[in-house]
Amino acid sequence: MQMDLRTVTISPQRQTYGHVARHLGEDKAASRYQEGTIGLQTTGNQHYRPVWDPAHEYFDASRTAVKMADWYAFRDPRQYYYGSYVLARAKQQDAAEAAFDFVETRGLVATLPEDIRTAALEILLPLRHVAWGSSMNNDSIAAYGYGTALTQPALYYAMDQLGIAQFNTRIGLLLADPQALDVAKASWLEDVRWQSLRRLVEDLFVESDWFELMVAQNFVLDGLLYPLVYQTIIDDTFAQNGGAAVAMVTQFQNEWAVETQKWTDAQLKVACAESAENRALIAGWIAKWKARSASALLPIAQCALGDQAESALDEVCEQLVKRAQKAGAVA
């Protein structure tokens, strides 16, 4: 005999959690992204002030100058919650793994022109420190930011940057040996070509407004660095000069940048749409950090592109300005 479960008579009492329904404006089925994000951070009745920051509540919207009536107006266009995030990254990491395997088993490193191999090591290995800096800064946003809608993707960004730092480390181990990492660190610490960038990264470590940090690190610095290094230098220049193997093992970085820009742009757009004050703040931050970032990246561009460097940099700066305009971040 069949035991039917007559689901038709089992009617749900509600579709989702109360705070989610209130945010959506009605009680309707909510996605896992929504249930795992909206209103998740405590907003009220906090018991104690932090001993590490007595001037603020533990969760305190005044840690940035940006003001929002609703911090859940922000939305991740990728709708990442933990599960969908790790599944997406696992898939990309599978592809990256296959690329590393391919390059290694086919002995493609040995086919790389020496100048490309050297340039790849000179650029990609110090960049692992830059990625680690970006990871730290995004962890700051995840820790001191306000509202899960923004802090959640910031932590994913921090982990992605750690992953990228580790992929770049693997590239070093693939193209050379562990000593190459030490050489690169010495160059990061002392080589004049890297010092403006290192100064910029270290200055960002002490930036206390987390929204400004998000603009400076994610929108501006990473927004210039990724297209410049992974597209212009590696995908275009290296690949056309026998360095396709390097492009293969940096596929993750390229895909990541394209995907993540969408998130960054969407956040700026929401904050700018909120008020003229936000717009002015953000436009000011972009202007301030763009000038510094562009000049810090120039010596690195020159190292790979020679006299093409300035025009390549101009081009990525132009793209950034367009993104800012589209997001409404113009004073």
Partner: protein, 517 residues
Amino acid sequence: MDMPVKKKKLGLKERYALMTRGLGWEPSYQSIDDIFPMDSFEGIKIHDWDAWEDPFRLTMDSYWKYQAEKERKLYAIVDAFAQSNGHLTLSDSRYINTVKLFVNGFAPLEYMSHRGFAHIGRQFRGVGPRVACIMQSLDEMRHSQTQIHAISNYNRYYSGMAEFRHHHDYLPYLQVPKSFFEDAATGGPFEFIVAIGFAFEYVLTNLVFVPFISGAAYNGDMGAMTFGFSAQSDEARHMTLGLEVIKFVLEQDPANVPIVQKWLNKWTWRGVRVLTLVAMMQDYMLPKRVMSWAEAWEIYFEENCGALFRDLARYGITMPPCVEQVRLERDHLSHMAWAHFYQARGTSDFHVWLPSEDDMDWLSSKYPETFDQYYRPRFEYWAKCEADGKPFEATAVPMQCQVCQIPMLFTEPGHPMTLAQRHVHYRDEQYHFCSEHCEEIFNDEPEKYIQAKIAGHEVFKGNAFRPGTDPTAEGFNPAAEALAFFKVEHGRDNGLHHGSHDHRNFEMWRGLAKTND
């Protein structure tokens, strides 16, 4: 052309070191103390951050790979459980109240833990611990979300879960876990990691997850079982981190030992006080039981932590003195708690019931020294009140401990019929405590605990009314208004299990599920 040279394969430890601590550098454009301003004020001295031994060595690529596999498995089961109306295969509808307790009391703590580890993952100047902390931060986000997702389908059918976020922030009994975690998170970075990474993760989460989740499996809750076990697979990493932190800090400087000992004393006690809720859940709320609270305590505290403290003895660390009292309370804890929640059921968001004859026989077999003598008579008297149609209920506002915020329901150690109270004056104001250990915690940091928002007092101050409420209006009912502010639907979310909407719906739905007519 050169032949490709086969490279020497790096060992796990060497490779992991290159992938993590190799990423850091000594800054020169900003001072290192400005970059990491929070890791020294607590008085913990670290001379050599490189002495840090990485616990599990997962690089991000392996992390994504293994965690994705866990998530795939977990959500497949959560989906299947929801699609097949798995809630109707539970042992008994009373079980659902443990799920309510979980989403209200625990899921928001996982979120707090995520933020707390993001914070300390930014503040330690050693790269190794920072990487371990941000990875734990990410895991804790996972736990919060998988719990919310797994419980989402229960929320669609049963009461008491829909407002877990608001309840956690305001409902009186939930201020116990909330203030516990906020206490840790507002402490310095080292205190936080000792409190959560060590005392909570290592000493206590085994007591939450292993017996309770095994109990969930036993009661037919595949969803809770899966998120529980899946979360624990991360906890194994977290416990190892907690242990490494302790070892690292203790080895760095002898001056760290008394500071760490003080935190261990404080957080073992704070943790055990919060676990009162778990003790009650295990002994009273699981319709089919796996082991008693006392048995779980023996395995996971006495045996497991005993080994640990023996190991730490070489640094001069001793078992926290509060453990003596915890042992005396072991056979009382769950009974005192359930007796309280039974009578204070009007302000809860889950249902309660009296233990049946069978339940009481089980309890007396597990607690032969205490149950029949001290607790059975109360439950039998209340059963008589229920049978007479006059169920016993306490409606007055409980007096609470200033530190743990639990109503003052604990008895004097060794005197199970005398309620305990401790009392101090501080800056023209007086404060009350459930125990000498909570009093000691207060005396050590009074400026912190005088800020506590004691739930009953918040009601008296008028902070538990919705905006626009006029307490001077005719017929104003403060208790009803407080419940409205708490978003507790009176008569639906609270009260007795028997005859509740949840009980009736479950029986009706299950009846439908089991027949073809």
